[in-house]
Point group: C2
Chain length 433, copies 2
């Protein structure tokens, strides 16, 4: 019987870009980083499972320590039984009666569970010779429901309601898969809008976004109001009245400030305001949404788990749910989030940026389209052109859309050379400096 | 100019008690632990600052790693300037633009900030030769407000409102300090109610609680309904109709289950239900509270930060706020929590158990009484007789009340022998076997 033989962890960090790519109102000097995990087995089939938590520099070592603590649970486990019951595995990790004290279900330990769970999904998909989105979409509604931990959800979504959602999506699955393989999945680009770009660069990148076929851009806001007014005006003038322009405050504001600030930017017709305040503030988001309509409200990249997602939906606090592939407890919890969003009829528009988040989350949106929401309207995946070259199976964007991945796995595998160069602090990139 | 010279961290774990002390519906096999920190200075006055995050075993190493990451910020800092601006220090640590990604403001990193911030408060109090509660109570309203980060709070509490609350409490401060020194602060005991005790032990410990002068006990519930009905009946019969009996589900239930279960226990007149569901579920707590009145709802020990506290109060979700001294970002964030509770007129009844949580949190309740709420009615601090012998300045309980501490500091200092015995995994207690 093959078993899980070894779990290796890596502290991978990429130095701060000198061009202020990735700079926003709260994250002024990121070193995009991955607390990375590789799972090997005794199966002798050459497959390893890869996963990671994304961080932005300091603390990546803490994240690696958390992954090592979670990984102790899986070493020695029977491989086939583990991969056959990913719902059971998730509960086993999340409900560790001691480790949960450091959360529960939030922060470094929960992100570590995400890395380990996603690495096991990568392994499972490679062994079944399918890209992850296809592996998930081929599951039966019952099998999908079994992935989800409904603890703390049943006042908003029961297993039976989840089954109904999935069964309603069964007709047309084959057509939607064919559509994906032909047309891909819509993307939007954040590249023009980082704080710190001069207006000429903003204009140039806005024009580039239009030329590249995107139908939505996003601008970072929240550092300086008069700058934001000018940048929104310049961007709107450049892209014209019909292209969607989202704005993103990265948690910068209190509720009252958010409302005032957004109203000042409203003349430039922002499509959504993203993370106007703390990701923990469900009631704050609800108050902001009510005050700034018709500007829509989006959040999710820092939402810690399905319990907060549930409340954002129950409170009518968001127009778009922005799942992140590597913050909540991995694929399983994001299946819960997709089902919750479907129940409340809120489109999912994932967060993706950093290291490898585009690579991961495309699979979840494609699964959502095929098997859960069965819809594409008002749905877009974020795209930023950062660090894809380090991945063996990087995302491909064509005419403003994600090209549907067909290689087996979860697209999480880094090139071997990346470990040599960017391992912190002894990789060549760091030790040379 | 003296500076912060060194920060040492320690992984201290106490083995699982064989008597099932500390066992509840979610935490079935705790090894009470402290991720401990000691801060030394170049001042040459012999004072060190001590603090810790409490965990329950696995993961304590992750917590130590998080403390080390946070502590990097303070080594080398000017000592007097740091201790003179604890509000500024707090913001410096919490808003680290990279480290915050692992939260923000939650989980292992935020608990690490708590440990470091509390250790600095311990140091400050020792240097000023006052117990922490007295140090805080002697600050002016303006100085107290400066400790608080109002980010994300101003829709519920502004700095001016906080000032008003503190100024209203100024008359009578001297009398309340004198009252504390004479009478101490009311406590309740959780000792009778751990899951796993046989009924004879429950009865014996209930009688002991009455004899010891407590006016409130607490029972753990949530594992088995028929057991809970029997245990509540037995306890109520033993303590009589007038003593308060709280019950605590330790996050075990979904909203619907909570409501059904609590109604089944209502005939035994529980005073409050504690942690009926996930600590993240503000709206769930509100729904439960509405459904189970007149049974009151209490939560807080796992509430991650002031933003969730704010929402629990805004939503009318709780009757009692149970602050924990070492989970949110230390003294500063608990000052915010005390002010929020005062604004919404909700009594604070702290969580205390584990390792050293009684020692810490007594100072916060006593400060609350002297300078914030100015009230004792319906206020009690939890008391459990665990591991106090390891502290240099342990809590003292007399006739059901905490005796007001008078030694300088935050009562967080462990005996040197404890490090030798309980450091994990090389202390004598662990390496022996």
């Amino acid at each position: 019987m093959p078993h899980i033989a070894h779990v290796s962890t890596y502290d991978i960090r990429f130095p701060t870009p000198r061009e202020l790519d990735g700079s926003d109102a709260m994250n002024t000097d990121p070193d995009y980083s991955a607390a990375y995990v590789a799972i090997t087995t005794s199966a002798g089939d050459g497959h390893a499972g890869h996963g990671f938590a994304f961080t932005i520099g300091r603390g990546n070592d803490v994240q690696v320590a958390a992954i090592a603590a979670v990984a102790e649970h899986i070493v020695g486990m029977d491989l086939d039984r583990t991969l056959a019951d990913m719902g059971g595995l998730w509960k086993h990790l999340v409900h560790d009666s001691q480790l949960r004290w450091l959360g529960p279900e939030k922060g470094a330990v929960h992100m570590a569970i995400s890395a380990v769970v996603n690495a096991l999904w990568d392994l499972k998909a490679k062994r079944e010779n399918k890209p992850l989105w296809k592996l998930l979409a081929d599951l039966t509604p019952h099998q999908i429901v079994e992935l989800v931990d409904f603890r703390y959800l049943t006042d908003a979504l029961t297993p039976d309601e989840a089954l109904d959602i999935l069964r309603r999506a069964e007709p047309g699955k084959a057509e939607r898969q064919a559509h994906l393989l032909t047309h891909g999945y819509p993307a939007y680009t954040t590249s023009p809008g980082w704080l710190g770009y001069r207006d000429e660069k903003l204009i140039r990148l806005c024009k580039q976004a239009v030329a590249d076929g995107f139908t939505q851009i996003k601008l970072k806001v929240g550092a300086d109001l008069s700058d934001d007014v000018r940048r929104c005006r310049v961007a709107r003038e450049t892209i014209g009245p019909r292209m969607r322009m989202a704005i993103d405050a990265n948690q910068r504001w209190d509720v009252g400030t958010a409302i005032e600030w957004i109203r000042k930017l409203a003349p430039y017709d922002p499509w959504w305001i993203e993370e106007p305040t703390s990701p923990d503030d469900v009631l704050g988001h609800a108050a902001i949404r009510q005050a700034v309509a018709p500007v829509k409200v989006a959040t999710g990249e820092h939402v810690q788990n399905r319990i907060v997602v549930k409340q954002l939906l129950q409170a009518g606090a968001i127009d778009f749910l922005q799942i992140d592939a590597a913050r909540v407890g991995g694929v399983n919890e994001n299946v819960a989030n997709l089902l919750l969003a479907a129940k409340f009829d809120v489109p999912v528009c994932p967060h993706a940026d950093g290291v490898g988040l585009c690579e991961l989350v495309q699979h979840l949106s494609m699964f959502d389209f095929v098997a859960v929401s069965a819809a594409l309207d008002n749905r877009v995946i974020e795209y930023v052109d950062h660090l894809h070259e380090h991945f063996v199976d990087p995302v491909v964007i064509d005419n403003g859309r994600y090209v549907t991945p067909t290689r087996p796995g979860f697209s999480a595998t880094l090139h071997p050379a990346t470990f040599d160069e960017f391992t912190y602090p002894l990789g060549t990139e760091w030790s040379a400096g």
